[in-house]
């Protein structure tokens, strides 16, 4: 299985030694979100991953917070799910961290409303989805009534 990041790299021909620092990116890892303790575990894992990728302190906090919001959404609204961490690299050679948060819950009926601040059906401030979108560089969501929800967010390092 190839990382999405490796596709973009491959399409540019052979590896560029000047860009890589010799280390291969870690393999993607999945974490279950079934209990409240799992939320803490996810936060730990994401924090460690942001350090590994080389994010600064503010970016680390952004990504961990976004992960916390999304994992909590999956736990509260999706009846549990998984968080998968991936380590993509963009065509310019920047490293990134991608979170894929999936649940098999009832799905989001009105996505636009869910992305509006203050919209909540659970215990938060209703900033989960919209907030995660603002904290990350890339955001996409696939959902529908009865289909579960998959949110994919990515943040890139500055250089």
């Amino acid at each position: 299985m190839a990382l999405p990041g490796e596709f973009t790299l491959a399409s540019r021909g052979p590896k560029k030694p000047s860009r890589t620092d010799g280390r291969r990116p870690p393999a993607p890892a999945s974490y279950p979100v079934r209990t409240e303790e799992d939320l803490l575990t996810v936060r730990h894992a994401v924090r460690a991953a942001t350090v590994e990728v080389g994010f600064g302190l503010v970016d680390q906090t952004r990504v961990v917070t976004a992960a916390s919001e999304l994992a909590r959404n999956a736990y509260v609204h999706g009846g549990g799910g998984t968080v998968t961490l991936e380590y993509p690299r963009d065509p310019r050679g920047r490293r990134g961290l991608r979170l894929v948060v999936k649940d098999e819950g009832p799905g989001i009926a009105d996505l636009d409303a869910a992305l509006t601040d203050g919209f909540t059906t659970g215990s938060g401030l209703g900033h989960g989805l919209g907030g995660a979108r603002r904290l990350m560089d890339e955001f996409s969501v696939r959902t529908g009534p009865g289909e579960g929800t998959e949110v994919v967010v990515t943040r890139w390092t500055v250089r």
Binding site: P14, K16, R92, R159
Partner: protein, 285 residues
Amino acid sequence: MRERLTRALHERGDEIADRWVELQMEQALLDTDIGEAELREEADALIEALVPGLQSGVPVDRVVTSSPGLHEAVVGLSMRRARAGATPTATSLAVLALKEALLKAVQRDTRDAEELFASAVFMNRLLDVAGALSFETYVDGREEIIRRQSQQLMEQSTPVVRLWRQVLAVPLIGTLDTARTQVVMENLLQAIQDHEALVAIIDITGVPTVDTAVAQHLMQTVNAVRLMGADCVISGVRPSIAQTIAQLGIDLSTILTRATLADALAAAIKLIDGPGPDGDEGDGR
């Protein structure tokens, strides 16, 4: 053909490297501080990498890109040129000059016109790829430099200065977009923590226009400062900007604003020495 070239590289490696360096010096387009010694080092490395590349058996026009050592040598050379400020033309020409140096070496071994022609074609196919790769790397390298410089410029152009005990100021110059706002917030909040500052003055004298987006970014910064437990004063609000803000219906009413930095400093000192920012009056002040 490969054997002939490999042999030439083996037997006349030094000669080729010399000639190549010479050609590059002659081109004089290389108006940089890359010295002869460095050029020679590059030449040796590249020529050394060419031999295993040629022996690998891949089609000639893919030798350069598929041989790791060779690829690295070309990329490294181009990157150094990009960093040293050479022009892209000079960079490509430098790589292509190797053709001439190689051909000259082959010429010493054979006088057969047909063979020489075949050698020339072979070298063209081999090294045109290197020229293209060099150009591409050069462009990438410059882009990387530009990206890094603009980041540095952004960080340097938002200095946080200490104006008074527990009063900091950030003079903003230019537009306030999202990236800039993030840098300003990061620098300002860190400085507030370091200096235990109670008031931060954001001076927008150098901000040409304030639209809704800029106002939103200002609000974000003010909110972040308040979350830290400090307060904010915005100074340098020119009449034209005040009008724009009013016309756009932007609500900055919760923020203390002043026309000049001096007024803002006076207001800041009052905030500190007067009743605390939390309004704990009752101490007879």
